[in-house]
């Protein structure tokens, strides 16, 4: 995976999100752009909000989906990369 298992992120203070059913729509105050997350992306977003590590996020996805772990790691990587690139999540610095 691109991100180490013990990596934590925090939500950007510029990101405002609303969840409707299993979807999340995010408005980035900085770029004035909008983003949409599907069910998997929404779960990841919520876990980041609860300060889960990347490893804990993957574990949670494994317990929710009947899909091989390697596939979920790949999906998680892709979503985290998109969120990171868009500036919607920021690395959480560990003390």
């Amino acid at each position: 995976m691109k991100y180490p298992a013990d990596q934590r992120f925090r939500l950007s203070p510029e990101a405002i999100a609303q969840q409707v059913n299993d979807e999340t729509v995010i408005m980035d105050l900085g770029s004035e752009q909008y983003f949409g997350l599907n069910d998997t992306g929404t779960r990841i977003w919520r876990l980041i909000e609860r300060e889960a590590t990347v490893g804990e996020i993957v574990d949670a996805l494994v317990s929710s989906f009947d899909v091989p772990r390697s596939r979920l790691e790949s999906d998680c990587d892709a979503i985290l990369t998109e969120l990171d690139s868009a500036g919607l999540i920021l690395p959480r610095e560990e003390p």
Binding site: E23, M27, L29, Y34
Partner: protein
Amino acid sequence: MSYGHPADHRNMLLDARRNGFYRNAIRQAIDANSVVMDLGAGLGVLGFIALDEGAAHVVMVEPTPVLEAARLLARDLGVEDRVTFVQKQIERVPAGRFEQEIDVIVSVFTGNFLLGEDLLPSLFDARDRFLKPSGVMLPDRAIMEVAPVDAPTLYAETVESWTGETAGFDVSRFREYAANSVAPADPARHDLTMLAEPAPLKELDFATTATADCDATATVDATRDGTCHGLLGWFQIRLGDAWLSTAPDAPRTHWVPLFLPFSAPVAVKAGDRLDLAVTRPQHGEWTWRFSRGPDHRRQSTFLSRPMSQAGLRLRSPGYRPLVNQDGRALGEALTLFDGGHTAEEIAQRLRATYPGQFSSERIALDAVKSWVARYGDGAED
């Protein structure tokens, strides 16, 4: 806000204070040769003031049929030959439409808290394409101002009323939508107490600015103890050499301050340092933030209604659209706008072709009539 009926213009027409400021500014700006554009003319009041003050000619630009009421008044006043009526959005008026260059643009494109209704971009378009280089804009500058506000009755009305049971069930889940919605405040009816001196947030120079937006912060010191229910925003505009303020404690005009509430009020003590921020991109969402020590609030009209990914996708510039059945019906109707078919004939044909879209002849005819009003030749000047 709809302005298609004369009654919609009542508050503006009867705003004597506003009219007086505009009249004074117009008198300063014009001479006997002046050509004035009354942009967003409505009933034409400001244009008629310009003629009364001696302007040579007035161009009234107004997208709604209410302009016809202005034409009737022009006839009553005997000035119809000194007015050009253009029923169009200014962006759709071709360059070179008018014989003369415009010396003065008069407009009332300032919504509550200045940016409401997103009319200012149209003013900038008119400025760029029709105003002569030495021309005058009335107003030509604006300042947005903000203050933290103790507003118990307004808060109860706009936010707290969504708490608890209504019609036998708990509607509290809708409260967050309300707490992220902006609302007009009425100083005559709501008890509004500013908890700090108003802070200037953003100044716009209408003569030069390209966008009507706000992304500004202010730090104020609370001047009294109280409960901060949200922020109150308003503006002042410069008309000639005078500033017209829409502040809650200023003499009343038809404008009202805008209330930007918090999801939960914050107790404030005199001397507290308060950080305020307001963001509003052009055509975008209002977002407002507040900090008092460890207490933070962030609200946004983005959260004032549920939004789906599907709806978001449709609004994306990168989206590749597919036409739906309503669109197909519209497309077919437009091919019949050739002067050879009545609206009724078109409606009958659409009903036969798209029975799922038009459950009755009346619904089909209503749809065709609305399209004729929008897309039919002769619907505008």
